[in-house]
Amino acid sequence: MRVMLTIARREFVGYFITPLAYVFLVVFLVAAAVATFYFGRFLEDRQADLIPFFQFHPFLLLVLMPAVGMRLWTEERRSGSIELLMTLPVTTWQAVLGKFLAAWAFAGICLILTFPIVWTVNWLGSPDNGVIAAGYVGSFLMAGALIALTSCISALTKSQVIAFVISVVAGFILMVSGLALVLDLFTGWAPEYLVDLVASFSFYTHFNELTSGIIAGSSIVFFVSLIGLLLLINRQIIELKKAG
């Protein structure tokens, strides 16, 4: 545990000694605010809620979280430092979890720094802060799932660009799997329970439920188990690469 936290701390601090982290933060914060105020018509609609803010989160996170996570393993593999890392007295699990936690914490910082919108909506009216808190929980969990996905994919390639593109595409598929676009591929030939299962893997469905103020057990299980699965695959890939 201590080793894992040490790795997480090192990785986390590592973000802030390059300009990249600041660029990500600025892009995320500006994009989120611009989307809320201009595309979401936050001020024009005069409703004291953060629907215009959260409705763009899936798309923002879909692009930015792969950008944060794409270098998690590609960099180690490209520079060869993965061999060095594996000679250290740390297990693959500790390394995978440590790196993931650092990136997830960074995503958390991104979300925390959107606090002015919460202050603004409370200054303008009396919003339901319980719903807002649930929305943040949803965003944080979705960010975690996208980072785990990117981390897993970044272990397969030495190219950050490839890791980024594949992660965005895979994330997009998970995002829209509850929509007709994807379900149409299954309806007609697959049994109904399989269609239901595919639909229940939609980020969007679970995220929408959370942003409406329901922290459902099934949504939490979905995100946590998905993160667990992806990290496990991530670990196996590293193990294989190490062995190879």
Partner: protein, 634 residues
């Protein structure tokens, strides 16, 4: 060779473990979807998504089985993500009902395939068929009981998600009831009338008919017959003394009563002789209200700038269309404490009630009854004259309004009462010559009520109108709930009153509204003066044009053409000045909005950039120091 084998087996183990993990992941989620449906935290302030105690009570009280059939077309569900998500919630809630009812509720999920028997059934129940593809898609609920009672929700609308529990519990509650209670409506407003100009009764009557047997009581009644659970009196401007006496004696004998009075019934009939006036604008129910220890202030209408509803004005004489708060139209909102009586079951669960030009109720000193306010304005409330309300000029009201404190617009009257007819029953109405009408004899006089009365008086009738109930979604129309709660409360029932309005609270930007209101007041005199001047210049121009035989200013003598040019110029100037004033009125709002945009879009990113620079400089300085120390050491 061994290492090759070892590698192969490691690869196999890794791939197998990944496959196993995926299977485990699928199983966990399948089980979670099936079993954790009800496990969730409802983070909303009003616990909108939790099953309430009232629902539990209704389900526990069921004595006879009820069958609920959900018709859900999988084609419709699969085509629409929101219906897919919502249907999951509906199914989960229905299963919860099944469990909570101890088996009395039997739930069945039916996929009405095209051209099947199930589809025929769905159509025969008048379920709404959404046609998004080739086949009709159903998402409706049918409830039946053992005595052939049928309740139908034709389509479960996703937009009404927050009212889902109410819809379902109401269905179960109605199916469990053997008999609806009877309410008689004494209708002075025409809410039940169907004639050439009004092709259907008001929606509020339809809404009440879902919970009560609604019976029209003819206005010339001389006695209230047995069998009514409550009488609802609406705008009683023309009740004969014998009718008033009958009503009073009904109450004296323990009858339940809800009264809607109004100093300015805006939705009442227009005068046949003057289209700008109402035929019978006000109703006071005198002398009964006096005997009950309550009065509605004569010829005065309640107004409140804090609760005023904006209406659209302008669009004429060069002025822009704009929204202006109209003080006598008020929207009472749960967000402002003290408007709804939190102790009374009628008002405690309400979120928003809209009233138009209501009256001000107050107790008469020395009354034997207790006066309990149900709906009250804020402390910035006050009254304006009925004549001013009749003129319906928002600017005039804004300029002349003087706040005088909170006004009560609905109240409950409880306690003993004395008769308003100590001299005995008034004479029966005269039967017109030739008419075959026989009036029933009046009831025997009772001078004091046999038990404490329980009357609800509401000083507005416009709240019953369709346009007020549904016209302004932004303000959350809960008028129908208020009316149903009031009637249900006097008849003794309280179940479902709390459920009735568990819809999300309408939350708006109060601060921007306040800023806008202040800016409007500050510049309004000047703007009105300019508009008047503009209208005057236009009139003068028209008069000049009229002097020309062909209506063309160009054909007028030179001096008049000069005058017309000056007037035209003045009109352009005034138009610009009016626009400038309107821009000034918007200026503060614009300033606040752009300030908020800057704070949200720029502030934190700039701080992040600064932090980045500080970290970079600090690291550079630290590196330089380190190198310097190393050089010194070397």
């Amino acid at each position: 060779m061994f290492s090759g084998l070892q590698n192969a087996s490691r690869t196999t183990i890794a791939v197998l473990s990944i496959i196993l993990a995926i299977v485990l992941f699928l199983c966990i989620n399948l089980v979670a979807t099936l079993t954790l449906g009800a496990v969730r935290i409802d983070a909303t302030e009003g616990k909108l998504y939790s099953v309430s105690d009232d629902t539990r009570q209704v389900l526990e009280d069921l004595t006879d089985p009820i069958k609920l059939r959900l018709y859900l077309s999988t084609s419709l569900r699969d085509q629409n993500a929101s219906i897919r998500a919502y249907s999951g919630r509906v199914i989960e809630l229905l299963r919860t009902y099944q469990t909570l009812s101890g088996g009395q509720v039997d739930f069945e999920l039916i996929n009405p395939a095209p051209l099947s028997r199930d589809e025929e059934d769905a159509a025969s129940f008048n379920l709404y068929a959404e046609t998004t593809g080739l086949d009709p898609g159903y998402f409706g609920l049918v409830g039946t009981n053992t005595t052939d009672g049928i309740e139908v929700i034709p389509f479960l609308n996703v937009a009404q998600e927050s009212a889902l529990e109410y819809q379902l519990t109401r269905m179960v509650s109605r199916l469990s009831k053997r008999e609806l209670r009877n309410i008689g409506i004494v209708d002075g407003l025409g809410i039940m009338t169907v004639n050439a100009t009004q092709t259907r009764r008001w929606q509020i009557v339809d809404s009440l008919a879902e919970d009560f047997n609604v019976i029209n009581v003819p206005l010339d009644f001389t006695v209230i017959p047995q069998g009514y659970d409550a009488i609802v009196v609406v705008h009683p401007f023309a009740l004969a003394p014998s009718g008033l006496y009958a009503l009073e004696q009904y109450v004296m004998r323990g009858g339940n009563l809800v009264v809607f009075l109004d100093p300015q019934a805006e939705k009442s009939l227009v005068s046949p002789t003057n289209p700008n006036a109402l035929a019978n604008p006000d109703s006071y129910l005198l002398p009964l209200t006096t005997a009950w220890g309550i009065e509605m202030q004569n010829d005065l209408v309640v107004a409140d700038p804090s609760l005023a509803v904006p209406i659209i004005v302008g669009g004429q004489q060069g002025a822009q269309q704009r929204s202006v708060d109209y003080l006598p139209w008020i929207s009472l909102n749960r967000e402002i404490p003290g408007l709804f009586n939190p102790e009374d079951p009628v008002t405690a669960p309400l979120t928003a009630v809209m009233l138009e030009s209501p009256g001000s109720l107050r107790p008469i000193p020395g009354a034997t009854t207790t006066f309990t306010p149900l709906l009250t304005t804020t402390n910035t409330g006050g009254v304006i004259s009925q004549a001013m309300a009749m003129a319906r000029n928002p600017q005039q009201v804004l300029q002349n309004f003087v706040p005088s404190g909170a006004q009560v617009v609905a109240a409950r009257i409880t306690g003993p009462i004395r008769t308003a007819f100590p001299g005995g029953p008034p004479p029966l109405p005269e039967v017109p010559a030739g008419a075959e009408v026989t009036f029933l004899p009046p009831p025997e006089l009772i001078r004091e009520s046999v038990e404490d009365v329980n009357i609800i008086v509401i000083a507005d009738t416009d709240l019953l109108h369709d346009s007020v109930i549904e016209g302004n979604v932004r303000y959350g129309p809960n008028n129908a709930d208020f009316v149903t709660n009031a009637i249900e409360s006097v008849t003794g029932g309280t179940t479902l009153t709390a459920l009735r309005v568990r819809s999300p609270t309408i939350r708006t930007f109060d601060r921007l509204d306040a800023i806008e209101q202040a800016a409007m007041l500050a510049f309004e005199d000047d703007r009105q003066a300019k508009i008047a001047e503009f209208a005057d210049a236009t009139r003068q121009l028209q008069e000049l044009a009229a002097r020309s035989p062909i209506g063309q200013i160009a054909t007028l003598p030179a001096d008049q053409r000069e005058q017309a040019a000056q007037l035209q110029e003045r009109r352009f100037e005034l138009n610009r000045e009016i626009r400038d004033i309107e821009a000034a009125q918007r200026a503060e709002i614009n300033a606040v909005e752009s300030d908020l945009r800057i704070k949200n879009i720029v502030l934190v990113p700039v701080a992040v950039v600064l932090l980045g620079l500080i970290v970079a400089i600090w690291r550079r300085v630290r590196l330089a120091n380190y190198l310097r120390r190393r050089a010194a050491a070397a």
